[in-house]
Symmetry: C2
Subunit: 134 residues, 2 copies
């Protein structure tokens, strides 16, 4: 049985360094960024293709894991809502889910478009967008 | 900084008990199932609505975390591919990602349609499908 400890496989390299300045969604001005994988995971990257979109899973390591309800988008006029009904980063298991477009692959460095994750954010996983045959 | 240990927030209750019998995708015959959350996370569920689709994140606790490349769908005639370019459950951080339709919410039990996760699978998170305003 897999133990419950995450193994970061790499880090995000980005010009975004401040949580308060981070856009809430990628279409709100997120910069291009690099996904820098540890060398030991090189073979796991085999098959990632520039020009395709993939799902990136990150660990939002600056999140508050004890938050269970929030005002959506931090707007106090909106009713308090359970975090499972929102995309708020503060939640028991703060896993970030991002659809990114691969611009280039250079060894264990992958350049992607419009990523709203902060510099240094641990990378957990990459998955293809769902296609029935993979 | 959030430590790297997952906190399961509930478990899947399903008639699927055998990994070898589990469908690879939900449209390949997955049964309806219950998401049973721990009582302490009740407030995090507030806002989940029957009739809507959500993303469910699970921890595939029977996965092999040392697998870095696979033959897609276990078909040896297909070329060995890095796990980050496949949806194989065996991967360094075996997080399962499922789009499920909520049939009913009863306290901390949520009934969902067509879930390909095994009985007892830990639940990590629930997120709405991406909508810009949440």
């Amino acid at each position: 049985m897999a133990e419950n400890t995450l193994r970061p496989v790499g880090r995000v390299e980005s010009t975004l360094t401040d949580r308060t300045a981070a856009p809430r969604q990628p279409d709100e001005g997120a910069p291009d960024a690099w996904l820098v994988f540890d060398d030991r995971y090189a073979s796991a990257l085999d098959g990632l293709t520039p020009g395709t979109d993939v799902l990136l899973l990150t660990w939002l390591d600056r999140a508050d894991r004890d938050t269970l309800a929030v005002h959506p988008r931090g707007d106090a006029t909106r009713p308090l809502t359970g975090v499972f009904a929102t995309r708020a980063p503060d939640r028991p298991n703060p896993i970030g889910l991002h659809t990114v477009h691969i611009l280039a692959v250079a060894g264990t460095r992958v350049h992607v478009r419009n990523l709203e994750a902060l510099d240094g954010t641990p990378i957990l996983d990459v998955k293809p967008l769902l296609t029935p045959d993979r």
